[in-house]
Structures are given as C-alpha cells and as structure tokens.
Symmetry: C2
Subunit: 342 residues, 2 copies
C-alpha cells in the first residue's frame, strides 16, 4: 500500500512548517511511517481496511513528528537505541483511536474531506477498530517504553478519556466556565501533544529539566492550537482551511468564544444562547446573530489573545535549548498555528 | 462504597467452586478488590458512577482469581513482590471495558439481571467509559508488569479486538465453519482467561514450562466455558442460570449449535436457517422448530462433547503441578463448568 501525504506549499503557513519539521526529521519520519503501515496489518481484513482508511488519509503526523523533534533536540549520544520510533507510532495510534471513537460520539459525517469510518462502516466497527488501534498503541509502547515512559503514555490515555467524558457530561451546558473548558481541552488535545513531546525527550535519556520543558511546550502548544481551532469556526479563515464556518454553533458545541459571549451577554442575549445552544432551536439568521453578539463583546479577539498567552508560554519553555533548526521550526509552528486565523 | 458479591451456595456447582477459589486466595482477593475500588476513582464523577455500576454489580472476578491461583501454584519464594495483584486488577479492567463495548455493539439491554450501562446512560458514555477502563488497565499493567508480561497483556488486547471484529464481520453468516468460530471465541473469551493465568505464573518468576501449562489451561478452559454457554442457550439449564432460553437464536447469533445444525441440515432445513438466522425472519414457532432440528442432529450433545474435549486438555495441562488445594479447585472448576448444562 502506498501512502501519499500532501501539504499545501504556502510559505509561512502552518502546513509549511509541519512539512519543514518532516524534512528535518526525514529519516525518523520514514521509519515511523513504516512502523505505522506494518502495524495496521491484521488477520481480520476489515480491521486493516478501516484502520488504513483513517490513518493513511492525509493526517499530518504532527504528534509523532513532535516526538522525533524532541528526541533530536535532547539526544547527545548518537549510539542511543532509537526507541522513540515505535513510541511515535504508538502516539499516532492513540490519536487515531480517539478520532474513531470521537466520530462515533459526535456522529460526525466527514473528516479531512472524506466520509468518516462510522458513516461508511457503521458505529459498531468504529468502536471495535478504535479498540484495536488502542491495543496496538499499547503493544508498541510496551515494546519501546521504559516504565517511566509507559506511565506517561498510559496516564495520558486515562486523561484523554476523562477529558472526553468531561466534555460529554457538560454538553450544551452554557454554565461551564473557562477553567472547566481548559481542563476539557487539556484532556482532549493538549495531553497527547505533551506526552508526544515528553516521550521523545525521555527516549533520549534526557534530564528532568528538558523533559519538563517539553511537557510544558506540548501542553501549551496543544491548548493554544485548540483555542485557535475554536476561534476559526467563527471566522472567515475556516473556509481557507477546508472547514465550514459555524459548524460548532450548528452542533451546539460550547467552546471558548461561546463561553466568553455567554458570560458577557445581557439577559436578553443570554436567552438567545439558551435557545440556540442549550435547546438547539436555531432559526435561519441565528448564526449571524450569534456572530454579532460574539463580535460585540470581542470574543474572537479575546480567544486569540488567550491562545497567544499559551503560545507564548510554549515558546518560552524552549528557552533552555540551544538555537538549532529544530527549535526554530517549533517556534515557527507555534506562531503559524496562531496565524491560521488571519 | 461497599461491595457485595453474592454466590449461590449450591455444593458442586460452578459458583460454589468459584467461591472455593476465592476463599483459597482470600488475601489476594481482598487486595485485588481494593485496587479495583481505588482505580474506579475518577475526577469525572460520571465515569466513577458508571464504571462502579458495572464492576461492582456482582461479577464473579473469575479472571483475577485465576491470576491469583496461578501465582500461588507457581510461587516458591515467599519474599517475591506481589506484583500479580495489580495485574489481576488490570485483567478485570480489560474484561469490564470489553463488556461495556460489547453491550454497545450487541445493543444489549440487560447484564447480570440489571439494565446495561448503554441502556441507562446511552452508547456514547459506554464507549468513553470503556476507553477509560482500558486505559486504567494499561496504567495498572505498566505499574506491575515486566516487559514480557506487558507483551502478553497488550497482545491479548489486540487479539480480543480482532476476535470481536471477526465476529462482527461474520455476523449472521451461516457459512462460517467450526474453525473460524473457534478463532472468534478464542479471541473473545479464551485469550483473556489464558493471559490471566499466564501473568500469575510469570509474576511468580516461574519457568517457561509452567507458564506454557497455564497458557494452555486458560485457553482451553476459556473455549470449553464459552461452548457450554452456547449450548446452555438452547437448553432448559439456561433458566436455572438466570438466562432466557433462545436469546442467541432470537438475535440470530451463529454459535456452535447452529453451525453444526446448519452443516448437517438437508436443503429444506438449510432454507429454514437462512430465513431465521441470516434474514432474522422468525415466526412464533420457529424457536421450537430450530430446537427440533438441533436435537435431530445431536448438536447440543456434540457441542458439549467438543467442550469436554477442550476441558480435558485444560485438566491435563495441569499434570506438571503437584496435587494441591489450588490444583484441585481448578479441576473442579473445569468439571463443574461443563456440568452447568446438566
């Protein structure tokens, strides 16, 4: 099976820097992709088919690239065993498993421009293939991980499922505040970014200071990334990125722009949010009305400001490392991740 | 939170010997239950509620008891670290996770006489709490396992999901043969029995011969256990065990009694099976008619014979161990597992 990952070649955009990172980590990138391809294999042909459909459908491999990058930024010993390759693959398998289960939970119909696996093969198969990918992830980490690395990755899996569950139990709840929301996106997104970075550093037998630096980098990058995603859903940039403006609103998803807007709204506006988000009763012009209130209270601008706050922490966390090509591309990744909305 | 596990005290029945095993492993049993209770804890209260509902609702803890028993049959060194306790808890968490996802897949409404979690809280939460329990299982094994033990348990998780998927992709397919069916139940049931036994032996730093003996014991016990379960569904013993006769038939489940009956049926009878199982078009008297054909070709008797074959292999696999109370109760468990149908 061949694999084609296409990147848009626009200079200075996020995809451009992901590609830069992939070039810097070229050898690892090929090895990681080989492990992934190899481990998609199953004696049950339908598993292989569905898992390949998801994993080979143009994901950027951002998380495994972070593992590779952090390994190289921490590694001083050329002879060290390259255990980080299987760990990077493991991280991608955890990510893929959560995507499959997420799409079942959210009843999503499309991902990366293709029909979701649950749309094509149904929910049952998505649940089981997700379980398969989780198990493969644990097989890989068992192969490549020290006890400390296993702890990070298995703890992260717990945190991810808790984050998902926290989100589900607060679904359409307009009273959640920013802190609860940060806990949700830390679980859903940032914890795996963070683990991906940490296990790279740990595979290089790095000292605790560097591991902690990468932990902080991953967490803050992940949170800022997710907040910009949330903002994009209410901005004209969404079209540029192949997404539809207003999808989150239509699904009644409570993300930071909505949380801020609700908190700042007057009582008449609060009734509007309850009707459209909590009870999902949306009329034709309600999205425009929502945008109006969101902009009246600067909620997109402030979501970007919050994201920038976390992005700055992420960039500063790399202060202990020498200036290298690797560090440069990570900084550019962070900056361009914020610029996605402009 | 208190926990009540009730056993029927009928001498010589299966539950009686599970209780015997629990008494023999009493210290471990309390410790395992403490770890389970402790690890049900989550900052997301709904997770704790649902996971407790499932795990504290009267499961027999057969798998963790097998881990404890195999540990004690292999352990010669009283000072050895009792890592098998967390591993036994890990096995129970894997089991619980698969039950939650199974019930979603099968749209089951009841388990152990209670409404299933998916009936009470919906499919979404069952998927996520299943993921949480899987992750907890991996956390526990990462804590207690050597690389070899981690390999066994993570390999087993892959085999379980492959078995489930193999079953789903052959759903209502009357042309699957006995070998494919054995592969399915090896994945779904026997592999975890086997892993539970192996990790007990491995925690005792046992030699390969003993680990292999327990691998064989667990696998063959598991297969024979499942085959008797299948037979019970077509026998009057099902009522005694709190199950409804004919549930598998009503759901169109292709189990060994049906596989044998279909293979032995004449062309008119084959049409009946296609109508009732493949297309699930069942009339009022179809279950009686199914029983008639099944009995005409001795399919229950032969399913029990097949189960007895595997039970005998399981018993013989223990031949390398000295005669102890532990060994005696395992043999009694096997025998009484077969007798469940009488």
């Amino acid at each position: 099976m061949t694999q084609v990952i296409q990147f848009k070649k626009l200079e200075n955009n996020f995809e451009y820097y992901v590609e830069e990172l992939a070039s810097l980590c070229q050898n690892d990138f090929s090895l990681i992709n080989s492990v992934i391809l190899d481990k998609l294999d199953s004696k049950v042909s339908l598993i292989q088919k569905i898992a390949s459909y998801l994993i080979l459908s143009g994901g950027k491999r951002l998380r495994p690239l972070l593992t590779s990058c952090s390994f190289h930024m921490c590694n001083n010993n050329k002879k060290i065993k390259k255990k980080h390759i299987v760990l990077a693959a493991s991280v991608e398998f955890i990510h893929a498993a959560t995507l499959l289960h997420d799409d079942v939970i959210d009843k999503s119909k499309k991902r990366r421009g293709l029909l979701t696996a649950n749309e094509v093969w149904g929910n049952k198969t998505s649940v089981l293939v997700g379980d398969f990918l989780f198990s493969r992830a644990f097989q890989l980490m068992a192969k490549g991980g020290t006890p400390e690395i296993l702890k990070i990755l298995s703890d992260t899996s717990v945190i991810i499922s808790e984050g998902e569950m926290l989100e589900l139990s607060n679904e359409k709840d307009l009273t959640i505040n920013e802190d609860i929301y940060l806990e949700i996106i830390n679980g859903k997104t940032a914890s795996l970014f963070s683990a991906a970075c940490q296990v790279g550093a740990m595979s290089a037998k790095s000292n605790l200071e560097k591991v902690e630096a990468f932990k902080s980098f991953g967490t803050n990058f992940g949170i800022s990334f997710q907040l910009i995603d949330d903002a994009i859903d209410y901005s004209s940039a969404s079209k540029k990125l192949g997404k539809n403006i207003g999808d989150d609103f239509k699904e009644g998803k409570v993300t930071l722009p909505i949380i801020l807007a609700y908190l700042r709204s007057n009582s008449k506006e609060k009734i509007f949010w309850k009707k459209t988000i909590r009870y999902l009763q949306q009329d034709k012009n309600d999205f425009e009305k929502a945008l109006e209130i969101i902009n009246k209270y600067n909620c997109i601008k402030d979501t970007i400001e919050r994201a920038t706050h976390f992005a700055n922490i992420a960039k500063d966390s790399l202060g202990i490392f020498n200036d290298t090509k690797y560090k440069e591309v990570l900084i550019n990744l962070i900056d361009s991740s914020i610029s996605r909305i402009h």
